[in-house]
Symmetry: C2
Subunit: 225 residues, 2 copies
Amino acid sequence: MKIHRKLARESARDFALRVLKENIISLELKPGTVISENELATELGISRTPIREAIIELSKAYLIEIYPQRGSFISLIDPKMVDEARFLRRITDTAVIEAACDEIDEKGIALLEDNVSLQEFYLSKGMTEKIFDLDNQFHKDIYEIAKKDIIYEIHSTLMIHFDRVRNLSVETVKDFKVVGDHRNMLEALKAGDKKTAAELVNKHLNRYQIDEKEIRNQRPEYFKS
Amino acid sequence: MKIHRKLARESARDFALRVLKENIISLELKPGTVISENELATELGISRTPIREAIIELSKAYLIEIYPQRGSFISLIDPKMVDEARFLRRITDTAVIEAACDEIDEKGIALLEDNVSLQEFYLSKGMTEKIFDLDNQFHKDIYEIAKKDIIYEIHSTLMIHFDRVRNLSVETVKDFKVVGDHRNMLEALKAGDKKTAAELVNKHLNRYQIDEKEIRNQRPEYFKS
DNA sequence: ACTTGTACACTTGTATACAAGTGTATCTGT
DNA sequence: ACAGATACACTTGTATACAAGTGTACAAGT
């Protein structure tokens, strides 16, 4: 497991949570991996308590399974879980971008404009690895513009189910299309065009329609049923 | 605070969680009430650890606010939070009942039929206090029929924001309309009529459009801003 | 060979001890 | 009387000790 440095004012619990999330998303912690509170505590240089609190939180998002007195492990990829996450993301993103069309102002436009410009820059320079974070930030910004930031926060951990499957099917060839989507969404937001914005969100999410069968063939041991 | 008995195979953490949730929903624990891990531990007859784990979970759903080294309290009613919860419930319930129209089978119909019949029975006998749980179960069943039970689970704690405001504006006169809504939804589900089902969900949720101004006048100390 | 029991090395769950920070009440000096 | 220092009684955060359950390895007896 990759362990980053504990930040300055970061509590031990938040540290553990951050490290675990990052490693689950990046598949450094593979689905099915057995984890132990004691081991993690030693590895991160903190006690069991904050580790345990982080593990409990992730188990509530179905990212870790805890079997009392027996052990815990990183949840296997559960197609039903991934489906529900995708379903939820689709309906929420759609409704939120429509709300954002009503709520957006100059400041919001500037925020998104900066983000998309940067994405276009990195794309033109071929630095596509920089786009991942900007992509996430773009969507988070839209939630904040629509005044739905708590919904974003609540859903964010759940979307890790989605993210780690995406990371199993890396097709960076799609990057330029994704950036184009963002540009188009921004234009629709500027114009207050809900219908187009909603359509774009749907088209955008369709790009992440991963080929479950292929991934499952490659990594059957990562899957649940 | 009302403390129920700890169930047989219930862990101390789940016990604490259940008691806290129930008391927050029922407003036995009023918005703004200061709580202390030590006090709760004594009161529930368990140690700080499981109490603390429950409090952390509720703080993640914004139902409790924790100020390190200073104290914790039951979150005040935050209109923005209530709005987001209602927004989320509306879009999710709508999408889920549409999905249920496609997925429902004989077994699902029987499940809902039993529930609604019971609601109608209690309503005719004037035992409207029994309807609350059946109402919740009805919606949960629809999520399960649509194979979206994890979404229900994830959202359930968040909807407490909604529930406790509902409990501040008790207008039981609406009960019979609610039961009628359920009957109509069931018929739409049987017919696989997505459009009608979605409209019914919206109409149904509009009944819970609480008069925030009035509640705020009555109980200004419960509100945030 | 096989079954059965048993010790042991793990696991998570819970309780408790200690660390560190905050706010208040009180005491002290001016 | 008032200002400031200080002790103290809280709070949550973290570490650690102990409880209880599980599975495995292994030895003893049949």
